[in-house]
Subunit: 501 residues, 2 copies
C-alpha cells in the first residue's frame, strides 16, 4: 500500500510540476514577454497544459485510486493520506470526463485570446474580441456539457472553482447580500461626497512600489520565496512552495492602485506560502477554493489594509514618502478618501460597499451567456444597461466597460466571478473569528504588527491547503456555514462611522 | 510522402516547443527566480528536458526517417526538405544512443549545480562545488561513453557542439594559433601600459543599459521580438522566432562590462533572429554550431564594437551620457583603453589578444578531466598553475579562478569551450569576406550604420539556420575551410597600429 501511495504521489507531482511550468509560461507572458512571442507561447502553453492534463486523467491513476480505497477507508477522515487520496479521486473523476483535445483547444484559444485582449483593451477594440469571445463561450459550453446532470449549465464551472456551490446557491446568497447592500449604498451616496482629490496627484512609480513592498514584508510575505513584478491585470501565481510570486500595476496618478493591488495579491500569496510544505505537489497543495482564496486577499487588502488602525500606523510613512503630494492631508482625510463609497465603473477599483454589485452583474451575465439567453454580440449593451440600473453609471468606452476584466479573455466564461463575493463574505466571517480568539489584533495592526493575525490564519486556514473543502473549512473555523450577515455587519459598522449614518 | 513529412514536422515542433519551454525555465532561473525556488525548478527543468528528449528519440521518428529516405534522396542536397530530414536523422541517430534516464539525471544535476554555483561563486566556496563537479564529470563521462568508437573521450561532446571537429583537430588549430599569439602578447606587454583608469569610475546602471540598448537597436536587434534582463553570467536564449532574449550584468565601477556583454549577446541574437522563419520548430532552426554562433557574438562585440570607426561615431554619445566620468578623455584614449592588452584572470573580461589563451587552458583541462589524468580535487591547483605559466597571473581566490565560468557548473564537462576560439577564428574569416564584398562597411560603421554588414551576414549565414553544417557553411562563405591566419592578420594589424609594434 505504501508503494501504491508513493506511486500516486509521484504521478501527482509530475502533474503538479507541469502545471507549475505552465504557470511560469503564463507569468512570463503577463510580465516580460515581447509582443512577437505571443503566438508561439500560446502553442507552448497549450502543449504543457495538455501534457499536465494527460497525467491527471491517466487510467493508471484511476487504478491506483481503486487500489488505495481500502487504505483510505481504514484512516480517519482528517488523516493527510485520506484527504490526499480523496482529493485525487475527486479530481480524477471530474476531469476524466473532459476530452483531452477539448482541453488543448481551450488552452491554446485562451492563451491567444489573452494576448489579443492585452492589445485590444487599450485600443478600446471590442470588435476584435467579439469573435474570440464567441469561441470562448462555445468552448465553455462544451466544457460544461462534459458534466451532464447539472441543474444549471454553469454549475460544473462554478463547482470547479468553488466546490459544493451551484448557481442557485450563489443566487440565493447574492440576493440576500444585495438586499443589505442597496439601502447602505443609497444612505451613503445621499451624503456629501468625500474629498479625495489628493489621491490623484503624481506619485512616482518606484516610491509606490517600495512602500507596498515594505508593508507586505511586515505582513509576512517572504521575498526569499517570492517577488513582485509589473503586469496589466495583477495576479498571484505559484511555481513551488519556495516560489510564490505576485504582480501589480502602477498608476502614477492614483496612489491607491498599486498599493491595494499589492496588499491584495500578497494576501493570496500568504495563503499559498503558509501551506504545509509536505503537501507540495500533491492533491492537498494550493488553496481550497476560489472563495476561500479571495477571503485572504480581501482580508489583507481591505479589513486590514483599509482600516483606521493600519493607517494610524502607516500614514506618517506614506506622507514621508510623498511629502508634496500629501502636504496638509490628515490621516483622517486620507482614511476617508481610500474608503470613499461611490458607484463606479471598474470592479477592481471599487470600494468595499459597491464592489459586490460589480460581481453580481458579471455573475448574472455569465449565467445568461451560458444559458443562451444573451448573445455575445449583445454583451456590451447588456453590460452597459446593468451598470446603469445597478450602479447608475455608464462607461464612456469598452475599455472601462466590458473589456475591463481579464477573466473571460484568458479563461472560461462561467465560474470566474462568484468567488470574489464569496471571498468577501468569508473574509468577514474569518476575521470575526480571529478577533474572538485575539481581541488585541486591531491594536497590533495599529503598531504595524501582524504576527498574531497571520499565525491564526496559518494555523486555522493556510496550513491545510486543500485538505478540507471550503464548506468543511468554514465549518471548522466558524462552527457554521457561509453567512452574509458578518460582512453586512462589518460594512455597517465601518461605514456607519465613516459616514455617520 | 507529404503526410510523412508533415508528421515529422509535427513531432519536431513538439520537441522544439518543449525545448523552448525548458529555455523559459532556465531564463527565469537565471534572471528573476527567488532563491528558494531553485530546488523545485531543478526538478521541473529536468522533467521538461526529459519529455523533450523522449520526443527526439521516439522510435516513430526513426520510422518516419526511414520512410522519408527515398524522398530525401530524390531532392537536391541543398533543398530545405532534404536538409530538414538529414538534420533530423543526424540528431535522432545521435541521441537514440543516450538512455533517457541519464538525460534526466544530467538535467536535474546541472540545474541544481547551477543554483549552488550562483551562491558558491560569490562566497568563494570551492569545497561546496567539488562534490557536485565530481558528479558532473562522472555524468559527462557516462554521456560520452554512449558513443563508443571515439578517438578521444571528449570527441562526442565536442561533436555535439561543433559538428565535424574532434579533440585532435581542435588541438592542431589551437597549437597553430598559440604559436602566433604568444609572440604578439610578448611584444605588446613589453611596452608601457595603457592608461585606462577612467574605465573604473562610477557609471550608473540605468545609463549604461540605455547606451548599450540604443546601439544594439541600431545593429538590428528587434525589441518587439526580444528584451534584455540582468543575470550573473550573460547569455542569449530563444523561446521562438518571435522571442529571442539577451541578458547582461552591470558593474557600475567598469563601463565595459555591460556594454560589451550586450553587444556580444546581441550578436548571438541577430543570428537567431535572422533565421528563415519558415524553419521555426524544425531541425533547421537555431544556429549551426557553437563556433559559428560565437563568430557572430565576437564579430559584433569586437570586430565592430571595439573598432576605431565605431567609437569615432559613438564616443561623443558615451561622453554625453557620462560627462563627469569621461571629462578630458579623448576618443583615442578611450579606444586604446577598451583595447588594452593585459594578461588577466577573467576570460569574459579578457582582451582580444589574450582571450584565446584562456580558452586553451579550459580546453586542455576538460580533456585531462575526461581522460582521467586530472582529478577534480586537483582542478584548482591545475587551474592556477596553468594561469601562472600561460598568462603569468595568479587568482587571489577561487571566485576569479576556477569558479569563474558557469559552463562546468551548469552543463557537461567537455565540448563547452572550444567553440569560443573557433568563433574568434571564424569571425575574422567571415568579416574579411564581408569586406571583400562591401569595402565600405568600416566607413558605414563610422556613421553608426550597420545595414550592409547585417544584410550580408543574414544572406550568407543567418537565414540558413542549421541548414548547412559549420564546415559546409564555411566552405560556402569563404571558399575554404577554417583558418587561423585571418584572425592573426586582424590582430596583428589592429594591435600593430595600437601599440606601434
Amino acid at each position: 500500500m505504501e508503494n501504491k501511495l508513493q506511486e500516486l504521489k509521484t504521478r501527482l507531482l509530475e502533474y503538479s510540476d507541469l502545471s507549475f511550468v505552465g504557470a511560469v509560461l503564463g507569468w512570463d507572458q503577463s510580465t516580460y514577454m515581447p509582443p512577437a512571442g505571443a503566438e508561439a507561447r500560446a502553442r507552448q502553453s497549450s502543449l504543457v497544459g495538455k501534457l499536465a492534463f494527460e497525467r491527471l486523467v491517466d487510467p493508471a491513476v484511476g487504478h491506483l485510486l481503486d487500489d488505495l480505497r481500502p487504505y483510505e477507508e481504514s484512516l480517519p477522515y482528517d488523516h493527510d493520506d485520506a484527504a490526499l487520496i480523496r482529493n485525487a479521486r475527486r479530481s480524477y473523476e471530474r476531469y476524466v470526463k473532459v476530452p483531452v483535445n477539448l482541453v488543448g483547444e481551450l488552452l491554446e484559444h485562451t492563451a491567444l485570446t489573452y494576448s489579443k485582449w492585452a492589445e485590444a483593451r487599450p485600443a478600446n477594440d471590442w470588435a476584435r474580441m467579439e469573435p474570440l469571445l464567441e469561441k470562448t463561450l462555445d468552448l465553455s459550453r462544451r466544457y460544461a456539457e462534459c458534466f451532464p446532470g447539472y441543474d444549471h449549465i454553469a454549475d460544473p464551472l462554478i463547482d470547479m472553482a468553488d466546490y459544493g456551490m451551484k448557481a442557485q446557491d450563489v443566487r440565493r446568497v447574492f440576493a440576500e447580500l444585495r438586499e443589505g447592500l442597496v439601502p447602505l449604498v443609497k444612505a451613503i451616496t445621499s451624503q456629501a461626497p468625500t474629498d479625495d482629490s489628493f489621491i490623484y496627484s503624481q506619485y512616482p512609480q518606484a516610491a509606490q512600489l517600495a512602500f507596498g513592498e515594505k508593508i507586505i514584508k511586515q505582513y509576512g510575505y517572504d521575498f526569499q520565496r517570492g517577488r513582485q513584478d509589473l503586469t496589466h491585470h495583477p495576479f498571484m501565481t505559484k511555481f513551488a512552495w519556495g516560489d510564490v510570486r505576485i504582480t501589480t500595476r502602477v498608476r502614477e496618478d492614483d496612489v491607491r492602485d498599486a498599493l491595494f493591488s499589492t496588499l491584495h495579491e500578497a494576501g493570496h500569496a500568504l495563503y499559498e506560502m503558509g501551506i504545509n510544505p509536505a503537501y507540495e505537489g500533491t492533491s492537498l497543495d494550493g488553496g481550497t477554493s476560489a472563495g476561500v482564496h479571495e477571503s485572504q486577499s480581501r482580508l489583507w487588502e481591505n479589513i486590514v489594509g483599509r482600516s483606521r488602525e493600519f493607517w494610524d500606523h502607516y500614514y506618517p510613512d506614506l506622507q514621508a514618502a510623498f511629502p508634496d503630494q500629501l502636504r496638509g492631508v490628515t490621516v483622517d482625510q486620507f482614511h476617508r478618501a481610500i474608503n470613499k463609497v461611490t458607484p463606479s465603473l471598474i470592479r477592481v477599483d471599487a470600494d468595499e460597499v459597491t464592489y459586490n454589485l460589480h460581481v453580481m452583474i458579471r455573475f448574472d451575465i455569465e449565467l445568461a451567456l451560458l444559458e443562451g439567453s444573451l448573445a455575445i454580440k449583445d454583451l456590451p449593451e447588456m453590460w452597459n444597461s446593468r451598470y446603469a440600473s445597478d450602479l447608475g453609471v455608464t462607461a464612456p468606452d469598452h475599455r472601462d466597460g466590458v473589456l475591463q476584466d481579464v477573466h473571460w479573455y484568458g479563461g472560461l466564461i462561467g465560474g470566474a466571478f462568484q468567488g470574489y463575493t464569496l471571498g468577501n463574505l468569508l473574509s468577514a466571517q474569518f476575521y470575526s473569528k480571529a478577533l474572538e480568539a485575539h481581541p488585541q489584533i486591531p491594536s497590533e495592526i495599529g503598531q504595524g504588527k501582524f504576527d498574531t493575525l497571520h499565525a491564526w490564519l496559518k494555523a486555522n486556514i493556510y496550513q491545510h491547503g486543500s485538505k478540507f473543502t471550503a464548506p468543511e473549512l468554514v465549518q471548522r473555523v466558524t462552527g457554521g456555514s457561509l453567512q452574509v450577515q458578518p460582512l453586512l455587519n462589518y460594512l455597517r459598522t465601518k461605514y456607519g462611522a465613516l459616514y455617520t449614518l
